[in-house]
Symmetry: C2
Subunit: 179 residues, 2 copies
Amino acid sequence: MRAAVLDAALAALLEHGYDGMNVADIARTAGVAETTVYRRWATKADLAAAAIGELAVVENPLPDTGSLRGDLRALLAQIMALLRRPEVERLARAAVALAGDDPRRSEARTAFYRARTAGSATVAVRAIERGELPAGADAEAVIEYLVAPAYLRLLLTGGPLDEVLLDDSVDRTIAAFAR
Amino acid sequence: MRAAVLDAALAALLEHGYDGMNVADIARTAGVAETTVYRRWATKADLAAAAIGELAVVENPLPDTGSLRGDLRALLAQIMALLRRPEVERLARAAVALAGDDPRRSEARTAFYRARTAGSATVAVRAIERGELPAGADAEAVIEYLVAPAYLRLLLTGGPLDEVLLDDSVDRTIAAFAR
């Protein structure tokens, strides 16, 4: 039931955007009662956040190559491969378009980023333990700076998500944090 | 005439989004003939790009403080002050929502970023001339890396556009490029 509803919600979000997404239609497509949907997800925003989170969820295990460079490279390569999928790009744009005023909509918006990066700060924590990063390094910020240029290109500038960006982002992040 | 049309186009874009933006209505609001609008801007996408570019245009002169750190700090402070304005945030979301398939729509989308950062790579070029950055440093990439976390927070994660981000982004960009 959960998978059928989230699939239908994702399809609706991609086709109609958040404002045009209709819970009754989603329930019908998934073959369940609308009340069943609302028992599991209290609001449309909750459902949208869950659907976005489902697509962006980590399909690959967190890299553990033994070095910070290897881990950051594997992690960003996974994320860039995801962002290059046209349906993921559409979903990212739909997520960004959710206005910031309503906290529930903001939550649906950030779900896209969180689902893909949750837990990945672990690679920076391991690097601190190995002495590759200084003890006080901000593990969450390492991931934020690693991925930010790729998201900027995807969402705004249209620059390439290519091997050059991958190499440069890893090099620059290590130089920025390994001081 | 130009300012009146662009003001009306910007208001329409903010209120209705790109798809709901109507050139005939914009011409009426600006008090000009629709044909006059189309003589200046051949398509709706051209008009949207011009309107977005107008708002995001550099209101402050490019900083020239004599040091890379001073220039990057002043530049990012200007950009963050702009991005914190609610109407600019709405416009950035509207720009991102423009789908990537149609090149004219992509152009309107990137106008938002370009208008704000055009020419700013000059501060990195000056730093290369002063020997603060190595000769081969990629001046455009310096700006991209400087601003990317701020845009990521604005558009996706909702993280704060605050003094901590300003200081950290400047420090990390210098560390990443001044190797």
